[in-house]
Structures are given as C-alpha cells and as structure tokens.
Symmetry: C2
Subunit: 233 residues, 2 copies
Amino acid sequence: MLLSGGLDSTTVLAAAATKRRVFALSFRYGQRHAAELGCAARQATRLGAVAHETVDLGHLGRLLVGASALIEGSALAVPKLGDASDGIPPTYVPARNALFLAYALAWAEAIDAVDIWIGTNALDYSGYPDCRPEFITAFAQMAALATRRGVEGRPIAIAAPLSELRKHEIITLGHSLGVDYADTISCYDPAGTDPDVRACGACDSCRLRREGFTLAALADPTRYASSTQAKRP
Amino acid sequence: MLLSGGLDSTTVLAAAATKRRVFALSFRYGQRHAAELGCAARQATRLGAVAHETVDLGHLGRLLVGASALIEGSALAVPKLGDASDGIPPTYVPARNALFLAYALAWAEAIDAVDIWIGTNALDYSGYPDCRPEFITAFAQMAALATRRGVEGRPIAIAAPLSELRKHEIITLGHSLGVDYADTISCYDPAGTDPDVRACGACDSCRLRREGFTLAALADPTRYASSTQAKRP
C-alpha cells in the first residue's frame, strides 16, 4: 500500500491491516512536506505493517521543481484560503500517482501481493486528475498488460477504498479503527521539522481536513502554527 | 525518451533526434548490466540529446532481487543458448517499463514535452509483457487520465517506433542514421566494466542481436568475451 503519512493513506493502512499482511511504501520525491515521512514510518509500526520501505526517487524533485508548488524550492506558492482557484491547482505534482503506483506494482509483483491499496479520494480533494476513479481503473488495466501476473490471468488489483467517501466519513472510519490522527500530516506547507511540525491551517488540504473533523464531530488533533490560528475561519 | 544504452533505444534516440529536441532518461535500478549506463551517456552526447538524466531508483534492486535474473545479486541465472525456454523468461523485471514510462511521464509533463519515445519491440524480443503494443496503448490511456495535460485535451503520446520492426530492420534503420552500435550493450550478462565490456554471446538478447546483424548483412561490432566465442552457433 501507498503510505504518505497523511490522513487518507493512514486510514487506508488501518483498514488494510484488518484484511491483509501490509507492505507499506513511501516516497521521498522532493516534497515540501517531507516531514510526512516521519509520520508514515511511525504509523506503519503502530498499525502493524509487516514491512515499510521509504524509497528515494532520485532527483525527481529537481526535475519537477518548476512544475509544482508542492516541490521543495519551487517558486510557485501553495494557494491559501481566499486565493482564487480554478481547475487543477499548482500543488498538482505531474504524474505522481502513476509513478507511485508503478513503483508499488513492481514491488507487489516481486512479493506476489494480492493487490495495491491507495488512499485516493475524489469527493473532498484538491481536484488532481490522478485521484479520480477513472484513473485508478485505467491504471489497473495498464498494470494487467504490463506484468507477468496479468499474463497469468491473476492481475494485481488496485484498491481505492476511500474513492467515494467524504472527508468526514474517512475520519469516522479511521477513528473507529483507532487511528491516531495527531501523528498525520495533511498540510501542503507545514512549518517545523519532524516530529514537531505545525500545519499552516490555510491551504486547501488543511481546509478539507479541518472541515472533516468538524463534520465528523470529532476533536481536531492537528497542531497549527500559532501565526495562522488567527486565520481560522 | 527512454534510453537504456542498448541497441533498440539508441536507435530510437537517433530517430527521435531527427524530429525533436530530445530529453533522454536512463535508470539505475540494480541491473546486472549497469555498464549500459555508460553507453547511454555517450550516445546521448553523440546523438545530440539536449539533456540526459540518469536517475537512481533507490533500492528497487533490493526489492526485486528475488524476482528477476536481471537484477545484480539475483540467485536466478540468465538463461543461455540451449536452456529450455517457455513463456516469460526469468530476465523479466516486474513492471519495469510501466515504472520507467511513469517517471518519464512526470518529467515530460514538467517540461511540456510533445511525447515520450520508447524502444520496445514485439517481434524479435524476449517475450516481456511490457514490450507489447497493447501495453503501450493502455499506458497512454492511463497517462491521459493521470495528468493535467490529459485533462487539458492534449495528452502526452507514447511513441514506440520499433514495435513492429524485426531486429535486422532496426539495425538497418540505425545504420542509416549513423548509429555507432559498437558502443551499445544488449547483453543481459556482460563481463567487465564500462567502457571495457564484453557480451556473453549466449543470452537471449545476444542471440537476437547477433542474428540481427547477420540478417542485416552488416558487420557485428559487438565485443564478445573470448571464453564464449567458442560457443558461437
């Protein structure tokens, strides 16, 4: 399973662990919020993954730095509350989920995994094309043709159990599974270093997360940067 | 374009350079024949690529070492002439072309490339599923759904110009474009280190390459290990 250390993928880890021996996979790709990798490692241990790999994708960040606000060192700014938004936001990372799933596909075939789990969501999300169910379906079709497993008639499936859930439903699900959301990072632009990280409270991801806790009627354990507390809507 | 440093992808580089400003991409993935990366770098310069990146895919080799004879340190042997063969050989690397193309897709979108070129061939090849035209088509469909470019209605195409060529036709094409095949490595199990590398002369890839030069009626510039010269059919 793909584990970023965010709210969604940590929930998927908890759900997957009820049904599978979980091999978790995280990536260092030059992300601005690399502190999430600390959360991923701790959640993998806490939720009982039998293995967790954090893979360095080489100099992908350098190759993508001009194309995404989510890459460390990008001149593009992470949009905040009140910024105009239309279409796919600048935090989109080119082909990210295709690349992550392809790496997972290689490992999944090597260990003869049943399926690959991913925490994409297409309701309360930032509008990224590679979070839509039609992308997941197309990836699975490609994967069946790409692999020995597909030729053998037992293709590796892609499970995206959060696809059709609202954010508060995801939080409710994770809460019922005992997920410690205090140790997850959703913020696109956090301050501090792991484990003392503060969410900005104003990016698209912070907004969706905060609204999710409100609608789920659960206390939001997120630690926000004090300077942005005043911006809370 | 994906550039391994082998015969096929070097031919694609020469062909692409007649039509495009070429950004070439190579991978260090734990391959047994990493000496090919030296060929890739020199061919990128020789054939006029405007950029060439060699990306380290982290510890992919360690994750796949039990699953492919092509990974350095694998206990699986590279099949040689006379070995029984049936179906997909042990030199298959799980999901390799899906992963390479996905990485290329990310870079291609970041630099707004027209298309991605790959040297897959489905006639004189080792029977890998991810060399078939139907895989390439499925990847392109997935890529259109994965990216901003696809949403904008100008998806990144995948060009596989060698798909339907026989090996000797590929060699004839490259020869007409001035490709120096002496500085390409096709062997799955070469001896020596770059640039003094010797082909085994007995693996499936050596067999296809040698037959190609014979059918193209061109001198084979490949340097074979002297110990395997005697095995030449």
